[in-house]
């Protein structure tokens, strides 16, 4: 499962550089992979699929650790301190499925604002919105 998500991240989201840092900063990559996994499996959030259970265990294991974010500073066009602050706000911590589910299944302006307050979700939306294929997909 993780491998196929990483392929999407590298080929479609331009995150190959961030993934390449996986060996040195596994936690950062894991959080991004789990966020995208949550996007892909919003409809199965209540099913105890093995990969979801495993992801939850991994994320729980990260809860108490500091979150160094060495690769995301340039990506966010900001400092690494800012990036670190942003990641501690990530929806993945605590596996907040409602962040992504609400904009899909119970859309409201409030749900949109909440979604946009998380940086990786916002990044995913920007990639979609700026991609000609993405826009063509919804036409």
């Amino acid at each position: 499962m993780r491998k196929s998500i990483e392929v999407v991240m590298a080929e479609e989201l331009g995150l190959a550089d961030v993934l390449a840092k996986g060996a040195s900063d596994e936690r950062e990559v894991t959080l991004l992979v789990v966020t995208l996994m949550m996007m892909l499996y919003t409809h199965r959030h209540l099913k105890d699929d093995v990969f979801i259970t495993e992801a939850r265990a991994v994320v729980n294991g990260l809860q108490n650790d500091a979150l160094p974010l060495k690769g995301l500073g340039p990506l966010l066009n900001g400092s690494e301190d800012e990036a670190t602050a942003l990641l501690t706000e990530t929806s993945v911590m605590g596996m907040k499925w409602s962040v992504q589910r609400d904009v899909n299944y119970r859309y409201s302006k409030k749900a949109e604002d909440r979604f946009m307050s998380y940086f990786f979700e916002t990044y995913l939306f920007a990639v979609f919105g700026l991609s000609a294929e993405g826009r063509a997909f919804i036409m």
Binding site: V8, L40, Y107, F125, G134
Partner: protein, 57 residues
């Protein structure tokens, strides 16, 4: 036969129309984004399967 429109009914305001359009457009974008990522994921998995089957032959 359709009932005639009430004489005192308010015409739809353009602001309301714009807001409604924005609401439906945003909702469509979010749903579309979700489906698009699922589509990319499926496509990527299919490509991988295709590569494997080519290698096997």
């Amino acid at each position: 036969m359709a009932a005639p429109a009430k004489a005192n009914s308010k015409p739809a305001s353009s602001t309301t129309g714009t807001k409604q359009f924005q609401f439906f457009y945003s909702r469509t974008c979010f749903r579309g984004m979700n489906e698009w990522y699922k589509h990319l994921h499926t496509e990527s998995k299919d490509r991988k399967k295709g590569q494997k089957s080519v290698l096997q032959h």
